[in-house]
Amino acid sequence: MSFTTLTRRALLAAGTAGALAFAAPAAAQTPPGVLIVGQIAEPQALDPAAVTAVNDFRILVNIYDGLVQYADGTLEVAPALATDWEISEDGTEYTFNLRDDVTFHDGSAFNAEAVVFNFERMLNEDHPYYDTGPFPLSFNFSAIDTVEAVDEYTVKFTLSEPFAPFLSNLAYPTGLIVSPAAVMEHGQDFGRNPSGTGPFRFGEWRSNEAVVVEANPDYWGDAPELEAVVFRPITDANTRTAEMLAGGIDLMVEVPPVALSEFEETDAYQIYEQAGPHVWFLILNLREGPFTDQLVRQAANYAVNKTALVEDVLEGTAAVSAGPIPPAFNWAYNEELEPYPYDPDRARELLAEAGVENPEVTFFVTEGGSGMLDPVAMGTAIQADLEAVGFDVTIETYEWNTFLGEVNPGLEGKADMAEMAWMTNDPDTLPFLTLRTAAWPEEGGFNSGYYSNEEVDALLDQARVATSQDERAELYREVQQIVQEDAPWVFVANWKQNAVSNERVEGFSLQPSFLLELGDVSKD
């Protein structure tokens, strides 16, 4: 008997000793000069032409440069690998002068031929390295007819038609320039062996653990302050928050709204917020059902308490939206536009005026998805608001990919209303793809609610071929005015991206593009 007791005690002692011994290394802090970033998922690839997720772009913009970039803190286009450019009178020829002092991380030279290689690879099905795709966002450049190297440091793009968002699209990560030599060397595995010209060069990729990038000592711009950045994929938001609290990461993006208060309580953390080019809205079905009547659509806009949604459901991580173009596009945004106020009485009046009583509405809600914020909770709150003024709302909930499969082909015969969110890089993109008559689903667009207004169509077409930013801005402001009045959507929210860092991180700021520029960040 005494023997068993002894054994048990010995076991306990051994167990405790073991636990304490394991505990020691965990207390170590992350090293200075090395920034550890909590990402929301494992990147798909580190090939800018092959990926679509913001999560991947956040790494890529640190490894690569584009011909142009978004200027710090804005969505306006500024020089990067191209020092300057000329646009022909008719808006179809873009000639870029390139920097002559840039080499890729693998040592090969950056020049006009490299630029040509990049766009040919993406767009020309006969290109020998087209098979390193697929390139899902290459349609951003579908307006390109030819790309040619005029001389070693001059490259000319000829477009098949004038296309004003072309420069914005070049600044988008799909336009980042990769090393042709590295593509030739690694072929399909280039996405795991990236080489660009950016402030950081690729170090290693340990699957599902970390992507490590190191400072590029030969960077053509200001050398980065950090020695290295480690991107850790932590898909579970609670675990990501726990890592931040435990000191396992220095910086995290997309902090769950409910976790923000945890970080607000102490000075040990810094919270960042930045409104981005994002719109969260409800598509209304204009082809059939109650929303064919403009008064009913406006009633829905008055009925939904947007302020409560962004303050309570989203805990302040979004702002109330006024129209189809988010304010992050400051140069094209219509400042005079006021959001539909929350006014249930006005909504009831409009319903009475329209002569409908308790209109029945089928509402498609998704469980979650890119940029959808907290769609189930928002859907439920919206349902309650609409029912309060007399709508009779039935919610149908779908998993994200299933949801897209239902909504993108159009709502006809299925639903009267659906949640949707978009993040774009140019004020043109969202209205062009979702509000034009020529963008109805049967035409291959995303106008799933079948909105149609000839005036809007004309204005958008005009804005596309205008090459002056001021002229474009004027046209977009007019579009916003008309669309708000027509109310083909319920305009709900513009997401403010957030991030949290610990006190050791300095010089960080979020960009309206939702990208993560780490060149100026330091950590002690």
């Binding site: 505990a23 697929p134 595995d189 850790r232 675990t239 499969g405 993108n408």
Partner: protein
């Protein structure tokens, strides 16, 4: 014995073929396709068609199945589009991580569960029995992902004894020590439920055996009680405990999915969840077939072990 093993191995082939058909059909029927998942809100019919063509998804269903099966038989599981690397590389990487986690949890729950069951049975209705039954009931009732989150909150965030998540330290070498450091919490969280189940079954199996005549004879002969329980009774009881262990191994493996997500363990469960959400068809199919094959093999091993222990089971 050799022919028995061979027979069992042969019978596994139709099982695996069936699994390959089922997982293939499920992935074909699941709403939403890879192109939509890749393109998100940019999924115009035109773009979807282009991506489907690039991925070879424009072929007829039957042709796709046989291309996949044929390639798999030559060891080519295809390429994961969401991770941009060969499926087999990814599955092997991830399966190794899962085996470390699930294997540790399985060893833990087997030893703890059997020990708890034996002690309970030996002290039937005594204090130890009641205490163990109480703890076991709690263990069975707590969902493992909740337990995992609580462990993270207490031992990683507040006490900082262990790292929150991951399998290896982000900095510093990959030592056995650092692995154990990351492994303890997830392995314990994963083992808890199975430990409870095994303990309860081990207890009743032991009680059954302890009532047998030969045990009474052994005691009458003056064999030490410890020896009676651990040597005579447990050996006999193991015959009915081992199949339970086999079944629990399956539960541990599937339970690993939650634990891998909570603790961000780079295992095959988390891989499958991500792959399903991104509609990475080849990765899901390859992963499921691989895991199923391992599970089938494991079950054969359990049956063989059982027949070795109990000569009454015909081979």
């Amino acid at each position: 014995m050799g022919s028995y093993i061979l027979k069992r191995l042969l019978s596994a082939i139709p099982v695996l073929l069936g699994i390959s058909v089922i997982v293939f059909l499920i992935m074909a029927m699941i709403p939403g396709d890879p192109a939509t998942a890749i393109l998100g809100s940019y999924a115009t019919p035109e773009n979807v068609a282009r991506i489907n063509r690039d991925l070879g998804l424009d072929q007829p269903l039957v042709a796709r199945y046989f291309i996949w099966l044929g390639n798999m038989l030559t060891g080519d599981f295809g390429r994961s589009f969401s991770l941009n690397r060969p499926v087999l590389d990814e599955v092997l990487d991830r399966f190794g991580a899962t085996m470390i986690l699930a294997g540790t949890a399985f060893v833990l729950c087997s030893i703890l569960g059997v020990a708890a069951g034996v002690v309970s049975a030996a002290r039937q209705y005594g204090f130890a029995d009641k205490a163990i039954t109480f703890v076991v009931l709690i263990g069975i009732s707590i969902p493992s992902f909740f337990l995992g989150m609580m462990m993270i909150l207490i031992f990683a965030v507040n006490l900082r004894w262990f790292p929150v998540s991951g399998m290896w330290p982000i900095y510093g070498g990959r030592t056995l020590w650092s692995l154990l450091d990351h492994l303890i919490m997830p392995a314990l969280a994963l083992a808890v439920v199975a430990t409870g189940v095994i303990a309860r079954l081990a207890r009743s199996a032991m009680l059954e055996v302890l009532r047998q005549d030969y045990i009474r004879t052994a005691r009458a002969k003056g064999v030490h009680e410890r020896s009676v329980i651990w040597r005579h009774a447990l050996r006999a009881a193991m015959v009915s405990i081992i199949p339970v262990l086999g079944i629990q191994a399956g539960f541990v493996l599937s339970g690993a999915v939650y634990i891998e997500i909570v603790f961000q363990w780079p295992g095959v469960g988390r891989m499958l969840v991500d792959a399903i959400l991104t509609r990475d068809i080849l990765l899901v199919q390859g992963g499921v077939v691989f895991v199923a094959a391992c599970y089938v093999l494991f079950n054969i091993a359990v049956d063989v072990a059982q027949s070795l222990l109990d000569p009454r089971i015909k081979t």
